[in-house]
């Protein structure tokens, strides 16, 4: 329970004049739900993008599951076991829900062009397994009945669930969720909450960006706070909530 899964040290990222991340270091332990909060523009999404290899970083290293993470290639990050969702949902809009999840299996499967053309026994077995796993995952996130609908036709809440299913299909060790409750109504948020609790029960480590304070405080084992690209706090939820620096960051932001 207490082994370190991810250790980031000295992460820096600048966009022109904006220092989006400044010397950010954090440690995520196996099996915990780690919250990442901070005012708008604090650098939370940017940190996700660095962790998943989508943005090149300026400096810093990430150790993941005991090895240095190759941040230069997103597919290597996915293969190492980090999966994510996006703040502004990015699904394969014209593929069905099931196909979206099947794409997530890509990194754990092997069939190439020739075995597909020849429809080898191994390829057919693998395809069947991909489909079965994808169906299971749709069921797990609760949208099994939408399997054959195009991703674009799903409701907002279901699209968020589908993104989680697609991410889970890569068999991650760490699931990074970027504001999964954004735009959800109360019922959907409650369902999301029990989904994330289920993930924890199943042994997954979760990194959660979320603005919904109740959700973060209720779910997370530990919370880090980013402000202007710097980590200003990292502690259990109650301590973070009482931290004067955090209060000031939020009040300053809302006063501005």
């Amino acid at each position: 329970m207490n082994t370190v899964l991810l250790e980031a040290s000295g992460i820096g990222k600048r966009f022109g004049g904006v220092q989006a991340l400044k010397d950010v270091s954090l440690t995520i332990k196996s099996g915990e739900i780690y919250g990442l909060i901070g005012p708008n523009g604090a650098g939370k999404t940017t940190l996700f993008n660095v962790f998943t290899g989508l943005y090149p970083r300026d400096c810093g290293e990430v150790q993941f599951a005991g090895a240095a993470l190759d941040l230069a290639s997103p597919h290597a990050v996915a293969a190492a076991g980090i999966a994510r969702t996006f703040q502004n949902i990015r699904l394969f809009a014209n593929m069905t829900a099931l196909e979206n999840v099947m794409v997530g299996r890509h990194v754990r499967t092997r069939a190439g062009v020739f075995s597909a053309i020849l429809r080898t026994r191994a390829e057919r077995t693998e395809e069947a397994a991909i489909r079965r796993r994808a169906e299971e995952l749709l069921h797990y996130v609760g949208i099994a009945d939408r399997a054959d609908d195009l991703a674009r036709q799903l409701s907002y809440g279901d699209q968020r669930r589908l993104e989680i299913a697609r991410a889970l299909a890569t068999d991650p060790k760490l699931l990074a969720l970027d504001e999964p409750a954004a735009g959800m109504n109360a019922t959907e948020t409650t369902a999301l909450r029990s989904l994330i609790e289920g993930l924890r029960r199943d042994g997954l480590t979760v990194l959660l960006i979320e603005h919904d304070v109740k959700l973060v405080m209720g779910l997370c084992d530990r919370v880090a706070v980013l402000d202007y690209g710097e980590k200003i706090a990292e502690d259990v939820p109650e301590a973070v909530r009482a931290n004067p620096k955090v209060i000031e960051a939020y009040l300053g932001a809302s006063a501005a």
Binding site: T52, G53, L54, S73, P74, H75, A78, A79, A83, R84, F86, R90, L91, F92, A93, N94, M95, T96, E99, M102, V103, G104, R105, H106, V107, R108, T109, A111, G112, V113, A116, I117, R119, E123, E126, E127, I130, L150, R152, Q153, R166, A167, A169, T170
Partner: protein
Amino acid sequence: MSMSARDKFGLALIAVALIALPFVLASAGTAWVRITNFAVLFVLLSLGLNIVVGFAGLLDLGYVAFFAVGAYVYALLASPHFGLHLPFWVILPIGATVACVAGVILGAPTLRLRGDYLAIVTLGFGEIVRIFMNNLSSPVNLTNGPKGINRIDPFQIGPLNFSASDTIGTLVFSGPIKYYYFLLLVLLAVIVINRRLQDSRIGRAWVAIREDEIAARASGINTRNIKLLAFAMGASFGGIAGGMFAAIQGFVSPESFVLNESIMVLAMVVLGGMGNIWGVIAGAMLLSFVPELLRYTVEPVQRALFGKLLVDPEVLRMLVFGAALVLTMRFRPAGLWPETRHRREMSENRA
């Protein structure tokens, strides 16, 4: 997956029709068999381009370059030009391989480009290949320049020569008819390959890249390799079609591989319905046959009606072509016979 009796019957009917077709056409003139053969070649090209444009969403305006590579490989290895006369079943795979390599060479520098930029670079590549063919006649005469390469060997299987006629009973198997059957077999194989690829791990990865490249990367797809694979596969099909083109035509010259041809093949893919194999086939057939039909009907009809030729068939051809594209884009933007996904999307909009 199992077929109903009705499906089987329909399929058998289509098969019989396709087998009988060349003889029906031949009774109207051997030219029509030839026209059909070229139409099938264009279907093959369109199916190849469909992998790149339709599945993977990479806009390629230089596709004819791979057709050219395949044609020249065949011409150089089976003509008096170098005095080489390899059999076609050796050359076609070589042509496909060389075209495949060319596809990777073109693909590699364009991996970071999308949309318009990709179109421009691929367009340039297509022109470069053509200009090479035009100019590689000195200091070493590789391609014979603008004059092209003549007297290319026809296909030969044992005693069966594809340029001569054979008579079996009362049936005359002319050269074009033999090529027709060969092309039909290749087409069948290419359709099966395309369908299998489409429903495979790689096919899904192509569509994922087309839909959202960033999400595809984050989902663990090595987008660089998978895109190169699309270019390579598409190019291989183009190379095989090129080899058959060289053999059927008997000569090749750079003139056959101009930008217009790339645009024509792209138009076939788009008109028919990007991503849907049947739509692409329909598009290629339409754009191949309608101009020929016009060529054979416009002149006699005008002479019968007005006693003289008012509109040149060639002018009308471009007019019809342009109008067809504009009307398709206006009324059926996803093509005449779009991919199921796109079709569903449209019916959803209507509902």
